[in-house]
């Protein structure tokens, strides 16, 4: 039952809400209770811009359950312009044409669903930054 689990992550998955350490400025995504860099425990909520550079990626050809219908698809780690890295799918692209260093932006997309009659889980995904 993924309902409360998905719902709880809504701020992160829907609008890239992150936590910025009030002491050292380190940005944590997802939010943490303790700053991984300085140990401080007070944070300010910020929303990441959604723009970043592709650090590395792969093309999933043998997909886990629930993702079979969209394979092959790309998953990458993106260094956001705020400095924090985020893993996510890269959609609306030809995976073979992706390159490390590509500029990507986030879009709001369907990630998975609990069967045809169950909950639809939405999240950020990345797309090439071509201004559409």
């Amino acid at each position: 039952m993924n309902i409360p689990r998905h719902w709880r992550e809504t701020p992160e998955r829907y609008r890239l809400e992150a936590a910025k350490c009030r002491k050292c400025g380190k940005i944590a995504f997802p939010a943490r209770l303790i700053c991984p860099d300085c140990g401080h425990k007070e944070f300010e909520k910020i929303n990441l811009s959604g723009k970043g550079k592709l650090l590395t990626y792969t093309i999933i050809r043998t997909a886990p359950e629930g993702f079979e219908d969209i394979a092959p698809y790309a998953v990458g780690i993106v260094e956001m312009e705020e400095g924090v890295s985020v893993m996510g799918q890269v959609t609306d692209c030809d995976p073979e044409e992706l390159k490390t260093g590509d500029t990507l932006v986030t879009k709001f997309r369907r990630m998975s669903e609990e069967g045809k009659t169950g909950l639809i889980m939405y999240s950020y995904k990345f797309v090439p930054d071509i201004g559409v």
């Binding site: 792969t58 780690i77 998975s112």
Partner: protein, 385 residues
């Protein structure tokens, strides 16, 4: 703290064991271990298993395994650290003996993976990644290591052939291992033409889904000396460390910090340096993993893992043999059993019982077992006294 020796080792043939259950293979490996040790005494049981809950719907292994082993009324504990659960069970048994809580502590590593479909197995394994911020996005374990492989290739110029050589070398070793799941050699062509799983990793870059179990019996060096059945083999150092579970949270993708720290900790405890080590069993769940591990432990400089492998540095007859057992790639990777099976191989090598795979004059071996994409790591230094 007492000095700890390994007096018994047991394993079963790894593979798709359709006619055997988890309790069958755990007990079988333990019985083999007891027979090897020449003693029948067990004061505590330490079980490493990653995900019996997802693989066979059975938790509470501490009870079921002790029960079917016929050893009730003693402490029995299950530990879990994903694919490093086996190594962690050995550490737990070591602590029992070193602390004087048990005179004889049994470590069992076990995983029964083939009772579920490939999709369900993939899901179970992916629980070793960050469920909410990695697996949620449809990433798989081959996918995580594929991203590391791409980074290594782009930063260091590591080639597909160099990656393939890890698998070829390990299969060559494993072809001589009677316990291996895939005891045959493979060619470069076969690796490079195998099905693409997650670019740039192909099927033959990946360790398989395996049923398997292995067991070790630990006691004090003092007790071991009295047994006289085998040369005395001791655990001289243990290191255990963790790193961020999610790759995105790490500053440098190619530095496996848990591996570096755990190896350093184990060496320091044993009073050894990396140059004192004769050979290693390392966690080659994917070809790139062996290269990253060797670089993170300081056996090879960063970026040199690929070329060194291709040049035979890590071959059985190389300067530093790695995975004489065939590694996870050829021997098989029953996740919870792997860390224990690695030490089974090392003890056999130190006893001089490895037949065609014997590394001449092997005195000190290192076992490196890791969980997830390097989120946890346990290293053991094993020495012949």
């Amino acid at each position: 703290m007492k000095e700890v020796a390994i007096i018994g080792i047991g394993i079963i043939k790894f593979g798709e064991l359709w006619d055997k259950s988890l309790r069958d293979i755990a007990v079988e490996s333990a019985l083999n271990c007891l027979e090897d040790s020449g003693t029948d005494r067990i004061d505590s049981i330490n079980i490493g298993c990653m995900s019996s809950g997802l693989f066979i719907g059975q938790e509470h292994l501490a009870s079921i395994i002790a029960d079917y082993l016929g050893r009730l009324n003693i402490p029995s504990t299950r530990v879990e650290s994903a694919c490093a659960s086996g190594g962690l069970a050995v550490r737990s048994a070591f602590l029992e003996v070193a602390a004087g809580m048990s005179d004889y502590a049994l470590a069992i590593g076990v995983e029964k993976m083939t009772d579920v479909s490939m999709g369900e197995a993939t899901y179970a394994l992916a629980t070793a990644a960050d469920q909410d911020y990695e697996a949620f996005h449809g990433i798989t374990f081959p996918g995580l290591y594929a991203m590391l492989a791409r980074t290594h290739m782009e930063r260091w110029g590591t080639t597909r052939e160099q990656l393939a050589e890890v698998a070829i070398k390990n299969h060559r070793n494993g072809s001589m291992n009677q316990y291996a799941q895939f005891p045959f050699t493979i060619t470069l062509d076969a690796v490079l033409k195998s099905t693409m799983i997650a670019d740039p990793l192909r099927l033959l870059d990946c360790s398989p889904v395996t049923d398997g179990a292995a067991a070790l019996l630990l006691t004090t060096v003092e007790n071991a000396k009295k047994l006289k059945k085998h040369p005395v083999v001791v655990i001289s150092g243990i290191g255990s460390a963790v790193d961020s579970i999610a790759l995105s949270q790490r500053k440098d993708l190619l530095e496996l910090k848990a591996v570096k720290t755990a190896a350093g900790m184990a060496l320091q405890m044993s009073g050894r340096t990396i140059n004192d080590i004769d050979f290693a069993e390392v966690h080659d769940c994917f070809t790139i993993a062996e290269i990253l591990v060797l670089e993170s432990m300081g056996i090879l400089e960063p970026g040199k893992g690929g070329p060194a492998t291709l040049e035979g540095y890590t071959a059985l007859d190389g300067k530093f043999p790695v995975n004489p057992s065939g590694g996870l790639k050829s021997k098989g990777h029953p996740v919870g059993a792997t860390g224990v099976a690695q030490i089974f191989e090392i003890v056999n090598q130190l006893r001089g019982n490895s037949g065609k795979r014997q590394i001449p004059g092997a005195r000190i071996g290192l076992a490196q077992n890791m969980g997830g994409s390097g989120g946890s790591c346990i290293c053991h230094i094993i020495e012949a006294k």
